[in-house]
Amino acid sequence: MAVALDLADIQGNILRAYGKQGFPKGRFITLHIDDAAKGRKFVTDLLPGITTALPWPSSRKPIAEGAVRAERPQVAVNIAFSWYGLLALGIPTRTLRGMPYEFIDGMMARAPMTP
């Protein structure tokens, strides 16, 4: 028996090839967090708009009319955090200390390691 993934708990950009699904252009917006509480509220408000990995109705895999389904969005929106971003959001230390060292170091610190 295969593992049943909780698709609603996985971001769309992890499992989908957006470029092949009609989203040829991408835009990155970096945000800086000054106020932890406001930052968390922003993330909470943004959450319903995040594109998840739930399947969209398509001609190949139709989903019954009337059934609850995730509609294909106009723009796919996904978010990511740096470790320092999570720190600025006031994530509990207990959670932060469990992160991988590579993630804590970040890309800039690790860039010289690549040939």
């Binding site: 028996m1 049943a4 909780d6 609603a8 998840t52 739930l54 389904r69």
Partner: protein
């Protein structure tokens, strides 16, 4: 029967979570995701005002010792089942081919609770669940609505109890935390089995020994063979009797092990709450009375005496109902 032990009923229920896509009011999501969010918002006890000042829904009646929700997404794969290297080589087992793995068909919500009970009967469980529903039904609905079959089956306390009864599994490890002293348990009556074992074992040994002797003797005179059925019969009777006695003893040990422990003294929830209240009130009394206790004059002693008298009058140590600590409050 660890579902009922030490005067407490330990309820364990495994409730399957829905797997269809749903709308939680803000976004299209999965029930298990929405359930996890809902569970994270339940106050676990009396919250400080800074944390919202909420109170756990389980504190609304005086029957819950402990209650806990856990989500099981899937069973963990423990790794390859080991086998002898020699057997693998003989059977030409290819270790790079994965073994089958077990997975759950849906995530499960685990609900465990323990409450006071006298006999551990189903009626006591149902009465607890009905009271839980009557005092915290709306909060429970917000949680259980993500579970399979809940919306169509549960309308009131009785249907909630029936739903939970269907999801109940046997508790195999209960959590008895109120034994200040070990309970007085009866000894297993080993003496009762001593003589029957000696007699039947003796008969078995005697019968076997005699049979061997007769067989040896028969080598010299065949007439000894006529005694053989008696000695063999004695050994057989001894063996059967010994087998029956050992079986009876085994069953008696298993039956004794299956019996629930007696209730620990003062382990029902009203008494525990009263004890917590007395402890915190007495701590306060000790702090407030330090000056009188340190004084050496007669007036200080009299004041301490009077204060303790009024402490006993106010706290009423023998009255379990009032004054007492409210459930769901953490503090000294």
């Amino acid at each position: 029967m660890p579902t009922f032990d030490g005067g407490h009923y330990f309820l364990t229920a495994l409730i399957p979570v829905r797997t269809d896509v749903m709308n939680d009011g803000r976004a299209v999501t999965s029930p298990v995701h929405a359930l996890r969010k809902q569970l994270s918002m339940i106050p676990t006890a009396a919250d400080t005002p800074l944390r919202g000042g909420g109170q756990s829904p389980f504190a609304r009646n005086r029957r819950n010792h402990f209650a806990r929700f856990v989500i099981i997404d899937d069973v963990a794969y423990n790794g390859r089942l080991g086998q002898s290297t020699a057997l693998n080589a003989i059977n030409q087992v290819n270790l790079t081919v994965a073994q089958p793995q077990d997975h759950l068909k849906s995530p499960f919500l685990v609900f465990v609770a323990d409450f006071d009970a006298k006999s551990g009967s189903n009626a006591e469980r149902n009465s607890y669940l009905v009271e839980l529903w009557n005092t915290a039904g709306q909060d429970l609905r917000e949680i259980f609505r993500f579970c399979q079959g809940f919306d169509s089956r549960v309308t009131d306390g009785t249907t909630f109890a029936a739903y939970m009864a269907d999801c109940q599994i046997e508790t195999t490890m209960s959590f008895n935390d109120y034994y200040a002293d070990p309970p007085a348990l009866p000894m297993w009556p080993a003496d009762m089995y001593k003589w029957p074992v000696i007699v039947s074992g003796g008969a078995l040994l005697l019968g076997l020994g005699a049979t061997l002797l007769l067989l040896v003797a028969a080598l010299f005179a065949r007439s000894w063979l006529s005694w053989l059925p008696y000695s063999f019969g004695l050994g057989l009777v001894g063996a059967v009797a010994l087998g029956l006695i050992v079986l009876t003893a085994y069953m008696s040990v298993m039956a004794a092990g299956g019996k629930p422990f007696p209730s620990a003294q003062d382990s029902d929830l009203p008494t525990v709450l009263k004890a917590l209240h007395l402890r915190s009130a007495f701590t306060r009394f000790v702090i407030d009375s330090q000056m009188q206790a340190a004084g050496t004059d007669a007036a200080s002693a009299q004041k301490l005496y009077d204060d303790f008298k009024s402490f006993v009058t106010e706290t009423k140590p023998h009255n379990l109902d009032t004054p007492t600590q409210a459930p769901g409050v953490i503090g000294i």
